[in-house]
């Protein structure tokens, strides 16, 4: 087990390094005059040249990447025109627009996205696994057909459509819920909860459809296997078979998928945050893209990659614990 974890860690570091090379090449070697974009349309050539020097854009790309790596592991200093800004160890660069380290900006946004993802995660797992379980148990009947239809609808609706409809119904027409907004949990837990309820529900409705389908199909697969037939022959009730033995076969894929989903969402639930105006990492990404704030864009992409790789490693370990047939290599 320890050997496996170490190897997995090594692999994760490799993927992250490769990711940083790809991301760096794609974004910084791209066409377009970065200095001009950062400075703005109305800058004089002299001002543009100044920005060019300050951002060290004249260096060859591998030198720039080397500085980037150095910053990531040891921190680095930036001259901001008037003084020197120090950027601590996991340094992802300095925002072009806000003159503060990207890492700080990301750390500030993390609790916002975290609140959104964790709440939605709990809901979508409960809803998804529950629906999948119920439709596998009641298979072949009207309940299953209804659930399958509902799941298909959830699966095909973009999150911003469901979100908009929910806002119209619950906030403006019925007035049961306040318009969504983010309040830090430490400020006011109650406001935090009510402000995030609708985003949680929208995200969960979309995501749970995927899980319901996954749980249903893997349970149906398990139910057709020989050992289940043996259980039936022993006279076990349908409920015990579905709820205990078939469910075990469905747990592993759910773990794998949920780790991947949660991991990538920590890098920003882009659509949900944009729709509800929640200032998390996803909203930050969209805003930075509009303002061509490349260090922030690279930072968000790297952070997302980090969470995905991390989540995958965790999923592999959990997978092996849930399903003893899996051999770790």
């Amino acid at each position: 087990m320890t050997g496996f974890l170490l190897r997995r860690l090594g692999g994760a570091v490799f993927v992250l390094l490769a990711l940083s090379v790809v991301v760096y090449l794609v974004f910084y070697a791209a066409p377009g005059n970065v200095a001009q974009i950062v400075c703005g349309e109305r800058c004089s050539p002299a001002q543009v040249a100044q920005v060019h020097d300050r951002l060290q854009l004249g260096d060859p790309i591998y030198v720039q990447y080397w500085h980037f790596l150095q910053g990531l592991f040891a921190g680095r200093d930036f001259s901001s025109g008037v003084g020197v800004v120090h950027c601590d160890a996991p340094c992802l660069g300095l925002s072009y627009r806000q003159d503060s380290p990207v890492t700080d900006i990301l750390v500030n946004k993390l609790p916002v996205t975290g609140s959104l993802v964790i709440g939605a995660f709990v809901l979508w797992i409960l809803l998804g696994v529950g629906t999948g379980l119920l439709s596998a148990w009641k298979r072949g009947g009207a309940i299953e057909r209804t659930l399958t239809g509902l799941t298909l609808i959830g699966f095909s609706t973009p999150v911003f459509v469901i979100g908009l409809v929910l806002i119209i119904v619950f906030c403006s027409t019925l007035g049961w819920l306040p318009f969504p907004q983010y309040t830090p949990f430490s400020d006011n837990p109650e406001q935090w909860f009510w402000g995030l309820l609708l985003p949680w529900i929208s995200l969960a409705l979309i995501e749970s459809a995927k899980y319901a389908r996954l749980v249903r199909s893997s349970m149906l697969e398990t139910l057709a296997e020989d050992h289940v037939r043996t259980f039936r022959a022993y006279g076990l009730t349908e409920r015990a078979i579905v709820g205990k033995h078939a469910l075990r076969g469905a747990v592993a894929p759910v773990i794998a998928l949920s780790a991947l989903d949660a991991g990538s969402m920590f890098g920003g639930a882009v659509l949900t945050e944009s729709l509800f105006g929640i200032q998390g990492i996803g909203k930050l990404l969209v805003d930075s893209v509009r303002q061509v704030d490349l260090p922030v864009v690279v930072g968000v992409v790297m952070t997302t990659g980090f969470f995905v790789v991390l989540a995958n490693a965790v999923a592999d370990a959990l997978y092996a614990m849930a399903d003893r047939r899996v051999v770790l290599q």
């Binding site: 095909s156 882009v270 990404l285 690279v298 790789v309």
Partner: protein, 335 residues
């Protein structure tokens, strides 16, 4: 996001016996009633997209013409008349503020939506199949390099990297082309993984070995023996990429980095409608409805194709039903 799920679904089909005959495929497809309905709806949408200039000419409206007389500027630009200004001239009403014809914009929006999604899917499948085959047949090094690279691409959430890519490309590149390219470039990894693993398992089969032993080159083996057998898993996965791509285009446009105005796009209309839903609900509901129907019908057709290509998908269901009935009758017998 749905990449992993799609891959796991297509995985079911990749071991299944390929090519059980085109006729059998059609029969299995038609046997699913919902699929027939969805296919008709989808065909209608394709017709609407193709015939967009014709349909708008029939209505007598232009998607980009402003009609300031049709909106109530005193009330902030709300369309005059009931249901967003629906009339004989404007079949689905007009846009708030600008008064542009909604029907014309929706119909032209279908072109963007379906066009981007289809072409992106074709490019995704092309890249995926090429790289997957190269990994499976190109020797150990090619496999290592391509597989690791694929892992890196899989680790990137499509929307995040798509947004990032759009940020750096100059405005001179036409938006629909850029969006198509971005979707294609980030979304080929699933196909490549499926093709690689299917090709690896096919490679060890007797008939492929026979072809190799009779002196065929790698390319000939790939083209004449592997590609036909790969059709089933690739199609199964590919048909579900289309609705996913429709959603992604809408999402990018919704975020304001996709199709640029004045070109109409459903996602972009939804963004605008976001501020109008109280005074002009049809402006929101129509693009939302179009988007929903498109994605739903494509998904149902995709699922139908999967079931038709995978004999186990149908029989597995039947097995489940039968054993449940068995359990019931056993229960009754024991009473």
């Amino acid at each position: 996001m749905s990449e992993a799920l799609l891959a796991s679904q297509a995985g079911a089909a990749q071991v299944a016996a390929p090519a059980s005959g085109a006729r059998q495929f059609w029969r299995r497809l038609r046997a699913q009633r919902a699929v027939t309905v969805a296919a008709v709806v989808f065909a209608l949408l394709v017709f609407v997209a193709l015939a967009a200039p014709l349909l708008t000419a029939l209505e007598g409206q232009d998607p980009n013409a402003f009609h300031p007389a049709l909106v109530d500027s005193a009330a902030g630009g709300v369309p005059k008349g009931s249901f967003g200004g629906i009339s004989g001239d404007h079949w689905l009403g007009v846009e708030p503020q600008t008064g542009r014809d909604l029907f014309a914009r929706l119909v032209y929006g279908a072109r963007v939506s379906l066009g981007v999604a289809f072409i992106a899917t074709l490019v995704q499948v092309f890249i995926g199949v090429s790289l997957g085959l190269l990994a499976a047949l190109g020797g150990r090094w090619a496999d290592q390099v391509i597989s690791r690279f694929t892992d890196v691409v899989v680790a990137l959430p499509l929307l995040v990297i798509g947004l990032g890519l759009i940020a750096i490309v100059p405005d001179s590149v036409p938006r629909p082309v850029l969006i198509t390219a971005v979707i294609a470039v980030v979304g080929w990894s699933g196909t490549s993984k499926i093709v690689r693993s299917s090709a690896l398992s096919l490679k060890s089969l007797d008939y492929v070995s026979a072809a190799r032993l009779s002196g065929w080159g790698r390319l000939a083996v790939a083209r004449r023996e592997l590609l036909p057998a790969l059709a089933a898993p690739v199609i199964t996965y590919g048909v579900l990429l289309v609705p996913a791509n429709v959603s992604i285009e809408a999402a990018l446009s919704f975020l304001g980095v996709g199709i640029k105005p004045p070109t109409p796009s459903w996602g972009q209309m939804l963004t605008d409608a976001n501020t109008w839903y109280q005074s002009a609900p049809t402006y929101l509901l129509l693009p939302a409805g179009f988007l929903f129907v498109t994605v739903l019908s494509l998904t149902v057709v995709g699922e139908g194709v999967r079931t038709a290509l995978d004999p186990r998908a149908a029989s597995r269901l039947k097995v489940g039903v039968k054993s449940r009935k068995d359990a019931k009758s056993r229960k009754e017998a024991s009473k």
